[in-house]
Symmetry: C2
């Protein structure tokens, strides 16, 4: 009998992770070699709790709708399996659940940690007597997985940030003569500046915004920063700043943790943007505005990159194809053939080479003064935001699908730890 696929979404969700789910399910439905796709309710937690969503209960239309629906339709989680030494019971539980539900394929859709888990499961399942084909599927707005040209989810955040920077930049430009002179947009990227760098794509002339980008990779120096802001206002009339939430001092302290206290002396959640604005106001007295994009940026399916949507779907489709070809412990990756025009196809990487490797942004992508991106960065980033892929609208709002998410009947006793 054809084995079922277990599919789980892991970690922070994106505008296109459901497009990957769509690719997995639509491709699996076309094959007689695989059974059902069972999705973990809230990710891997669903496997541990034996809460498996039967995607065969969803209509073809609902599954097609996943392609244009942001966030994780089955629920995701921030739950990292401990090492085998620390908690072998969790791994045994996974195998038990897989065995009980005829699951022969484990598809884990996530970032670096998830690829590591998928790798471990692939190694263990054989010794535990229930061999599982493990396929990792890349997903992360952080764009930090190795080998793959980019990570599905990143292109859409990049597009959102570039579009928003251009738009807010026009706003400040038209107000600057008598009002706001500085605007700060805070974006995600705790460890790497990929997302902040994407803001640089908005710049289409030497005086156009953004004028300053703050990367986690470049130690923040208040004096140089304030001088750059003033020089920009003096020259251009205003200054637009894109700041990574991971911007930090040379000693590793995050600007966002600058020690704000409320009236009662409690530490207040920071935010890089208000911290920067405070500095600028104190030093230069400019009127400032600031924005923190937070979840809006990674949920913004309404302005997703068509390239990103296509790639997200393609890695889902490839996961099924790889499994059917008998591949194991691999992850589909995006291979860049050329940049202009952008040509890519799907390749594969062994999970062992993906797990625990973080792809950092090359220093050559950051301008010499540390406040901008280089032509090389632009060449890399620009193709990733190409194309629009608008969702359908009703009554002025995007029509995102909501699945039934019907659970398979449980067969095992409850598991204690999850």
């Amino acid at each position: 009998m054809a084995k079922n696929i277990f599919y789980a979404q892991s970690g922070g969700v994106t505008a296109v992770i459901n497009a990957t789910a769509c690719g997995v399910i639509e491709t699996a439905r076309k094959s007689r070699q695989v059974g059902k796709v069972l999705a973990g309710k809230n990710g891997i937690i669903g496997a541990l709790r034996e809460e498996l969503i039967d995607t065969s209960k969803e209509s073809a239309k609902a599954i097609a709708g996943l392609r244009h629906t942001p966030s994780g339709a089955f629920g995701s989680c921030r739950y990292k399996l401990k090492s085998l030494e620390e908690n072998a019971a969790e791994y045994r539980r996974l195998i038990d659940v897989f065995r009980a539900h005829d699951i022969g394929y484990f598809f884990y859709n996530g970032g670096g940690d998830s690829q590591d888990t998928a790798h471990k499961v692939s190694q263990l399942s054989t010794t535990m007597g229930h061999p599982i084909t493990c396929i990792g599927i890349p997903k992360t707005v952080d764009n930090d997985l190795p080998i793959t040209d980019t990570c599905p989810g990143f292109g859409s955040v990049a597009k959102y940030v570039a579009v928003s920077t251009r738009e807010a930049g026009l706003d400040v430009a038209s107000m600057a003569e008598s009002s706001t002179k500085v605007f700060v947009l805070e974006v995600m990227g705790r460890h790497a500046g990929w997302i902040a760098a994407a803001g640089g794509l908005a710049r289409d002339s030497s005086s156009a915004p953004p004028h300053v980008i703050l990367f986690p990779e470049i130690a923040f120096e208040e004096k140089a920063f304030l001088a750059k802001v003033k020089a920009t206002v003096d020259k251009v009339g205003y200054c637009v700043i894109v700041a990574s939430e991971g911007a930090q001092y040379a000693d590793g302290r995050f600007l966002a943790d600058a020690g704000m206290k409320d009236a009662f002396g409690h530490t207040q959640l920071g935010g890089v943007a208000p911290t920067l604005v405070d500095m600028i106001k104190a030093e230069h007295g400019y009127k400032c505005h600031w924005s923190v994009a937070d979840y809006l940026q990674r949920a913004a399916r309404h302005i997703a990159s068509a390239t990103d949507v296509e790639q997200a779907y393609a890695v889902g489709k490839a996961a099924v194809a790889f499994a059917l070809e008998g591949k194991n412990a691999v992850m589909p990756v995006i291979q860049r053939k050329r940049s202009k025009p952008y040509r890519w196809d799907i390749g594969e990487a062994p999970l062992g080479k993906v797990a625990n490797v973080e792809k950092m942004m090359p220093r050559s992508f950051i301008s010499k003064d540390g406040f901008g991106i280089t032509a090389r960065a632009r060449e890399y980033l620009s193709p990733l935001i190409q194309g629009e892929d608008y969702p359908p609208y009703r009554d002025g709002l995007p029509q995102y699908v909501r699945l039934k998410n019907q659970l398979v009947r449980k067969k095992l006793p409850a598991f204690k730890s999850a």
Copy 2:
């Protein structure tokens, strides 16, 4: 000889104020009864400084592009003319500049203060011996002008906030089991809750987000708010909050001014969202995320409401038509004929009735518990966000026009005060 039109953009810009400029210029170009459209560089400041942009130097294509370009293409300003008693010289200067440049029409595109200025100029010009036809053109994301059904600029902010709330809501829903349980989106509206109310349009079922809306109109009570958040998390699993920047305590203190201090004891720019998150974390310990939309919301031409764009263009077109019909001291308004389907046309209001009247949100638009919107609010708001009107894209980014903004040669000596 046909008199010229002076057109100025005033106050905070919007995603569609340039669509109004497009309506004015395209309509004026078709008529032989009017001369050129001269635009104030940075709004009314441009008139005082005799910095007049000659829009006849722009191509038809560039002017057409204004329809899809956000912010103020000629620059705007926050500059309110003093009263006649305080500064008659400013009014005299306006008349001098208008006379020197054969300007017979004054079009002022802005909110309440601007309509008041247009009204005053219309009264003065006759006594000063250079009669000017004054037409106010409505614009404000605050939606607080009287008589008109809505204000161009508001519908697009409303759409942005509704779309963003829906998208971020899906994100939180998929993470809530093991991670973020509360998300706060801070939106504009210092005096009225129109924009916050628009977030309520995202809600399409009784359990769907947003679960809490904070309006400036409803005194903030921390205890009731925290209880509502907990009840929502207990029932739905997560809680999405849309908070107006104008949210305030019963004594009028803004939540945003809650007295945050940095490490040096300086008062820190607040933000309602981080303040609320701080409260929620302290009381319930939930993991929270927050976003401040700020300029992004009013600059977001990429997701503008088609209805709003159409209305913005229509009031610009009507301004010229009114002027040619010999009307004076009036403002084109949007008249709602019916809500479902939305039918509207253009009417007129005397500036004397528009100036200094603020349209507040009716209490009947806010639910009894003060945390949501009613069916009446929905009926009013929903038509205003209908339709998408996407700008053209190149290389993954919206192609917004940049005008030449060539100034007319000055004819007068410099004016001291501006």
